[in-house]
Subunit: 199 residues, 2 copies
Amino acid sequence: MPKEEYPSIRRGGSLMLAWQISNKNVLIVGGGNVAAGRIINVLEADALVTLVCPRAGLLPEVAHRVHKGEITIYKDKEFDETDLEGIDMCLTAIDDPEASSRIWKLCKQKKIPVNVADVPKECDFYFGSQHRDGPLQIMISTNGAAPKLANIIRLKIAESLPTNAGNGCKNVGKLRRKLRSIAPGTSEGPKRMEWYWHS
Amino acid sequence: MPKEEYPSIRRGGSLMLAWQISNKNVLIVGGGNVAAGRIINVLEADALVTLVCPRAGLLPEVAHRVHKGEITIYKDKEFDETDLEGIDMCLTAIDDPEASSRIWKLCKQKKIPVNVADVPKECDFYFGSQHRDGPLQIMISTNGAAPKLANIIRLKIAESLPTNAGNGCKNVGKLRRKLRSIAPGTSEGPKRMEWYWHS
């Protein structure tokens, strides 16, 4: 096969991932608009949320989630280093660049993946615009170029998908599980690697 | 605002992220089909790739990338623990469940994010089906339910987007950078947090 046939590398992108944080401890620092969005993101991925923010700084939505018990541990205080103990991921969303930088550095020392809202240099990862329909999740990123366009593209994609796309994925998943229980060899073991790549 | 107006939590998803690995050291163990795909993924995000795989196990495409110098460090050998020194992320794609499990455990000890192909339990993150057009990246995940459907959805989305979507994002990015240099206050500082969430 001539080398031209191998896919060429288009640099400058991100590594798009579906992170698994079910039952992992995610620390969120801050209680405003950005924090409110982060809380939804991580709860939808079944994380255990520790929230650090003085009560006066909580948005009504965030206070509501604390009140409803959706937050596993709520700390009515400012962040300090001990808050990072046992934490698997940290998301900060506070309007204090110095405090944010301190958290970033501590996370780097402790090898905790971290996102400091609004400070791209202090992020192991970015968020994008997201469409969710049951097991189907679609994330649109413009790598910081055009966040509002990402949002428009997200709405267009949502419109263009069949209304039952999420359910379709769910049903295929059920069938595949059934198939595996009847004929385990067909989609288990090394052979699976072939299609895994396309998942 | 009555509490019903707050977005409800739809559990069971992943945390969709755009991981930043520019100039980070990513270890890939294996040289087959899955590894070949992983190599493209991480090179497109500007990672420095260390590849560990005996030469006899390299797919022609992978051998070609080694030959072209796209791989920063190539080790013609089986994996051992020292290969994890200085590594920021590890992706294994070998048909050896025992060796894979050992790598997973070592990565957990060392707090290195890791994906063991084909072993969902030994993954900090999953990959999805991806569409890329310049700065625009779209990732489709069905959370393991229907990988082939994810691929079909990806193709449908690619068809439905205007052909110049990537260029559009790029041009908006240029304009935004220009605007920031002329009027820094308009999109810098705490106020940015509001739209950052939508990026």
